[in-house]
Amino acid sequence: MMLYNRIGLFRAERGISRKALAEAVGVNPQTIGYLERGDYKPSLELAMKIAAEFDVAIEHLFSFRPFEPVAAVLRRAGETA
């Protein structure tokens, strides 16, 4: 089953490099790369560590359904504002 994630988005938003995130959660930078591409499914422990690092709930980072594109979310927010 496919597991979608928004790690790249959160990293870009907070200006964290893969290396910094990898050091913070105790893995190699290549593992963060594989995670972002969806080529590797993290363990629960690693997923929770990444969520804790970004200070978000784990559901905001990982999902079994594709996340809505940022452009669509922004457009909807602009329409409702």
Partner: protein, 171 residues
């Protein structure tokens, strides 16, 4: 001119081989798919040569030994990180790759070992080989198993995962 003690001279010789340098820094790991394929293919060919004809025993052995020596580099520089590594971080993904690779290897080694245990005596009987030749053939079988031990996990790991571009890790 200072005279170095013998122990220090021996240390200098060891350092010149480059081997102590290997443990100071983490090795730069590569898929080494090509080397693993060559080692596996030629090792299998060498073992087959040793078994097919009595006259080819020592030629097969030379090929097999050369492949075994090549395969020694695979665990050192290949994609699989060792257990209890002192200078490399082995995270959960590395451990998963390693575990899957060795789980693939073990049934293969088991089947090849069983085939060897049954096949080598059968070959010796059919080809009327002498006792020393049969013992030598058994020894070559053990070397072939060691070659498989080095090559198959590397092949599995290198095909299981495409390596990530290191440039991607800079952002």
């Amino acid at each position: 001119m200072t005279t170095k003690p013998l122990v220090q001279r021996l240390d200098d010789i060891a350092n010149r081989t480059g081997v102590p340098g290997l443990v100071l820094h983490p090795p730069r790991r590569r898929p080494l798919r090509g080397l693993a394929v060559v080692s596996f293919a030629l090792g299998t060919a060498g073992m087959a040569m040793a078994c097919i004809k009595p006259g080819w025993l020592w030629i097969g052995e030379m090929v097999l030994m050369a492949c075994f020596l090549l395969s020694i580099w695979l665990p050192l520089k290949g994609p699989i990180k060792p257990w209890m590594s002192v200078n490399e971080r082995v995270d959960e993904r590395d451990a998963e790759i390693r575990d899957k690779a060795y789980l693939t290897l073990l049934p293969i080694i088991l089947i090849v070992a069983l085939l060897g245990l049954c096949g080598i005596p059968a070959i010796a009987w059919l080809q009327q080989r002498s006792a020393p030749e049969t013992v030598a053939l058994g020894g070559f079988g053990a070397i072939y198993l060691l070659t498989l031990w080095n090559t198959i996990p590397t092949l599995h790991a290198s095909w299981q995962d495409e390596p990530a571009d290191e440039e991607d890790d800079e952002d």
